[in-house]
Symmetry: C2
Subunit: 402 residues, 2 copies
Amino acid sequence: MEGQTGQTEDNIITYPGGFKANGMNCGIKFKNNDLGAIVSEQECTVAGMFTTNRVKSESLMYSMPIVKKGRARALLVNSGNANTCIGKQGVKDARTAAKALARQLGIGGKEVLFFSTGIIGRPLPVGKIIECMPALTSGLSDNAMPVAQAIMTTDTTQKIVAEEADIDGKKVKFVGIAKGSGMISPKLATMLCFIATDANISQEGLKKTLAASVNTTFNRITIDGDTSTNDSVVVMANGMAGNSQIGCDGELFAKFGNALHSVCAKLARMLIEDAEGATKFLTITVKGSPDTRSAEGIAFAVADSKLVKTAMFGNNPNVGRIIAAVGYAKVKFRVKPDKVALRVNGIECFREGKLLYEEARAIDLKGRFIEIEIDLGSGNEEATIWTSDLSFDYVKINAEYN
Amino acid sequence: MEGQTGQTEDNIITYPGGFKANGMNCGIKFKNNDLGAIVSEQECTVAGMFTTNRVKSESLMYSMPIVKKGRARALLVNSGNANTCIGKQGVKDARTAAKALARQLGIGGKEVLFFSTGIIGRPLPVGKIIECMPALTSGLSDNAMPVAQAIMTTDTTQKIVAEEADIDGKKVKFVGIAKGSGMISPKLATMLCFIATDANISQEGLKKTLAASVNTTFNRITIDGDTSTNDSVVVMANGMAGNSQIGCDGELFAKFGNALHSVCAKLARMLIEDAEGATKFLTITVKGSPDTRSAEGIAFAVADSKLVKTAMFGNNPNVGRIIAAVGYAKVKFRVKPDKVALRVNGIECFREGKLLYEEARAIDLKGRFIEIEIDLGSGNEEATIWTSDLSFDYVKINAEYN
């Protein structure tokens, strides 16, 4: 299994066989790409996971039922406008946009998914999207860069990952693109992620492996603890690699799952690396937990603590704030402070209910990457999550964005 | 019932009959008061509520059992050092400090409560505290200012409230002091609050009315969602007003409860007014809820959202972020977005699942006070909470504080 990530023009990542894509500016944003499409020659098996926020984008209300049926040919996406909190007009606009692409491609309207990201509450300028359909489709190519750019909002870099796996004697390819750098929390983070693969896989198998991958990647990152209304991770598999169909278990399923997990993990890390205003990449591992869920809950309490995040920004090894967050995490397991051990960048600075003051002072936080390791001393389960610090620029970006 | 709040030297607030207090610098901090005492002539009935954080200050481990017994004469407190995550030595140091004050006053060691606030994880310099006992006690007076100053950490102003109530033909007085401006979240907020009253009240009655007051005041504020290890609200009632004893219900109990609630509410508001780096005071009311707990949970999700808080700091009426937070609040009641109505500073900007874009644009957030009113349209219960915005200065204060 080999991986490739592309963020520069010199390092073009191309879509797997049968997929083409494009991105352009349609005028929702002043400049930069704000409209993109990914199109498959053949019908695809699709699976998706979506935000758990009770307030959902009207674009999701349109697309979720199609994903549920498990078949699609193309995907249209706009940035700059979330098509959220619009009411019924938003669902109509999503359908209109999807149909316009379908007509242009000569396929059925129900074969096109539609997603949106950007500002909440402004009517979608669907006319601008429709006008651009001929240009968007005539420019379709195997270059993943333009569509990766088209889904960016406050992202500073496009996020693309390519992966290959040998499955059933065939070289199966994956290309994933993602966007998100704020409003990021588990379930699922304010993000869009679209993965195209030429694997042949059953709908059941695709759903199952996607859920497993997302739960330990996109559901284990947080920037600000805010869950968005538009989060979507969608995989389209067009079967053109020619492997015999992957089911719900066995060796082929495992190989496919490993490759998909790798794509998701790399993209999830890229989201944190590009977190709004971030100067630090924090890896928080909670071990020694009686169950995975408690480990996750405690790791997220630390990761979402404004006091921990500002301390990290200030290169300030304020161990007390980490321990306080461990203490207030809302989990079912009853943490025993006496059994907790804490290491920051490899230095043990809390043990047996005591903060080791001299050791804590010696912690060097100047680097970009910070490792926080918490051992609860109460079991064998663990969870690792990734997050960023809370900086002046985070405040600036989010005070001004509208 | 008349109220008085004091924040300047010109406006001295004096303790009720039988109470004296003092504050001074003992050298834990470089300058400013960091040691204080409140002493009663007569034994007091006491009640207290403490942090729910599983990691608790060693000072609390010492004092909580005494408060539970319900009797005390004096209270000693230091700032600059939280005496937390110290292990057994911390409990010993708390006992040593309390005993030193008891010896100086000629009372029993178990009649003195001891509290701490400040940096976590540094051994308490108990020697400095003991050395200052003669000076601290010789300066006892009825002026509440010095002890109010002695409990400050990042607070920029001392927080004192005086209240009077006519109970059983007697003028009963209350003086409350509080500290806290960061690490503030419900249960209980990083805060200390000490209230002295000359009322005569049973331990049961005092416990019951304190719990009721705290639940709708200190448990309804949040600055950063971080819960501290040292939070304490303690009331001492020395009975010197001479009223017949207040029990657990009836008219006298109601009058006492109203006055105590007023003290707690004013102090809670002062904490938010002095929140770290805050430029805004936000009042978030959630109505139309099937139960109070869901109303509280949704109000806190909005209040703790980094994206809502930064938008408020930027005078940015980003209604979508408020609605997104309503949507992801973890409460048992299933919010129906179609029934939700939102008003910001009196302007309705979301209704029937739709954001009212032009109305939202018209919202003026330039003032210091912002009112967010969310009607869930699903019941008769409500909750109001107070919070602050998230500013550059919040980041600065917390990046540098150690």
